[in-house]
Every structure is written in C-alpha cells, then in structure tokens.
Amino acid sequence: MSRLVALYPRSWRERYEDEFLVLLSERSPDPLDRIDIVRGAIDARLHPQAHRGSSPESLEPLPYSGPWSIRRAGLVTLFGGFLWIATMGIAVNGPIVRDGLQVYRDVGAARPTFLISVALLIVGLWAAAATLPSTSRFARTAAFAAGFAGVLWAIAPWMLVVGAVLWLGLAVLAIEAARTGRWRRSDAAILVAGIAAAVVVVAAALVGIKPPVAVSDIQFVALLMLASLWFATADALLRPAIPIADPTDDRPVTPP
C-alpha cells in the first residue's frame, strides 16, 4: 500500500502520509479504493496548492514555479521546438533527386527528427491542457484532438490536413491559456514575434524580395506561427503565471 502512497508528492506525504496509512490499515482498500488513491495522487500533483496548509497567508496566490513534472514537460517542449527548427533546416537542405521524370528535393532525411520533435510537442500540448481549469473543456478537447492529429502528422508529414489540426489545437490551447491567465507577457511576445516575422516574410515576397527558402508564403506563415506557438507553450510551462491548477470549476454542488 505504501507504493500507492508513494505516488503522492513529497509535500503531501509530509503532511498526510502518517494518518493516511493509519486509515488504510483500518480499512483494507478494495480495488476501487486503490483506483481512488491513484486518482487522489494525480490530483495532489496537479493541484499542489490544495495541500499547502491552512494558514491565512497560504490562501493568497503565491509566486509559483509549477511542479517539476510540468516544468519537465516545458523543457521537453522547448527541446522539441529547437529540434523542429533543425528538422526544417535538414528538410530544405535535403539532397536533390533526379529520377528521370522530375527533379525534386528529398526531405526524407528529416523524417526521424520530425517524428521526435512532433512527439515532444504533443507532450507539451497535453501538459499545457492539464494546467487549464477543468471548466476549459473545449480547449482540453482541442488539445487532445491535436495530440492525436500530431501523432498522425509525425508518421505521415505529407498529410497537411492533420498538421493543420495540430496547429489549430495549439492555437485554441494558447488562447484559452491566455484567457485564463496562464500566460505571461513574454509568452504573448513570443507569439507576436512569430506572427510579425511571418508578416515580414510575406511582405518581402509581395515586394519581390526572394524568400530565404523555397516554400510558399502560406507555408511560411503557418510554420513561423507554429514555431512561435510552440515556444510560447514551452515558456508557459516552464514559468507558469499563476498557481497551476487554481480551481475555478464552477459546477454546482449536487444535492445529496
């Protein structure tokens, strides 16, 4: 049983472990109780402020750096973002192939890093969704759907539709994170910088300046915005603006 209790964060165990183990020794837990304990441990990790103590100062919002699991997801997302940029570099510099019928650039060399980078983005997507309040159902669903679209896209990068679903899911998540106060100004600044860079590229193309790589303007806008959304999500996970799971669930109390 102590293995299940070990799933709880250390701060929770310091406060409740002793009495919790006494409770479990008095009432032998059945399988449903074991599931309930695991759910409780997940909740304690997602809502660390809920067991911070009962002193009046603990009721005030505190500067909060987020649990390590969320920050780790931020690091993974950040690394994935850099890997994705490297992937784009590999793709646009791939070998030129002449197969007798046509001449094209082989982007297959970028497939492994593309797959890994999108997988890392999905980790960030789902971690960011977990930090949203439970009332943000639409954004959580969008993040979930975007994750599955990302899996498909990672396997088949030529399926631009699923790539677009991933992009849209990330955008919905970012809007909801900003709306519920999960974003700092720096996150918004990263996104604005990405959009501004995309606008500059398109404007340059319109006035006849050759883009730095041979892709269409629309692709450039989408890719730059995806990159900026990606880095903003990583930043929000690494440096959350407010306590991560400030409970704002507004479901009414069900009459007993």
Binding site: D18, V22, R27, S54, V253, P256
Partner: protein, 107 residues
C-alpha cells in the same frame, strides 16, 4: 460573504458530506468515512477523502487537532459552520421549490 464549495470541483460533494459529518463533533479520517457512508449511503474513497480534507483545511473550513494514536481528528471552524449552514439553507430552498412544483403538477 460565505465561501461556497463549487470551486472544489469534483471534491465539492464529498466536502459537503465531510462538513456534515464533522457537524456533531471532531472525527478522524476513518470515522468520517464510516459516518458519511452510513448517513448518505455514498462510499467515500481514501483518495477522495484526503483530497477534500486538504481543500477544506486549506480554505480554513476545518482544522486539524493533535493526533491521538497516529489518528488525526478534524473539526469544523467557525467559517466551516457558516459555510455548511449556507449550503444546507441552499439545499433546503432547492428541495422546497421542487416539492412546491411537484404539488402544482400533481393530479
């Protein structure tokens, strides 16, 4: 202003049961579980019990007493009593309205 329990999310209903259980005196975890199950028929899992206890304690609705043989009893605070009363008043109004409406539609 009386704080509600709705911000507790899925722990709102168990929290109400716990407040009700503590209304006749301090109890430790196992006694709360037994009392809630006996009075409401709703089994309270250990993870849910301690998720709700942590929230109630953090919000100052209950307070922990010194442990007795490693069992730590909890009791209602003044704020907890006020909150429980407000919740029960709300439920009483809800039940009253429902019963009146049923009387109006009864054949």
């Amino acid at each position: 202003m009386t704080p509600g329990l709705s911000e507790f999310g899925r722990f709102a209903e168990p929290s109400l049961y716990i407040l009700l259980s503590l209304s006749d005196g301090p109890k430790h975890g196992y006694a709360i579980m037994s009392d809630v199950e006996e009075s409401s028929g709703v089994p309270l899992g250990p993870g849910t019990l301690y998720g709700a206890l942590a929230r109630l304690e953090q919000r100052g609705l209950i307070e922990a007493l010194p442990p007795v043989e490693r069992r730590r009893p909890y009791r209602l605070t003044g704020l907890g009593v006020t909150t429980l009363k407000a919740q029960l008043d709300g439920l009483a109004g809800f039940a009253r309205t429902g019963l009146e409406r049923l009387r109006e539609v009864a054949p």
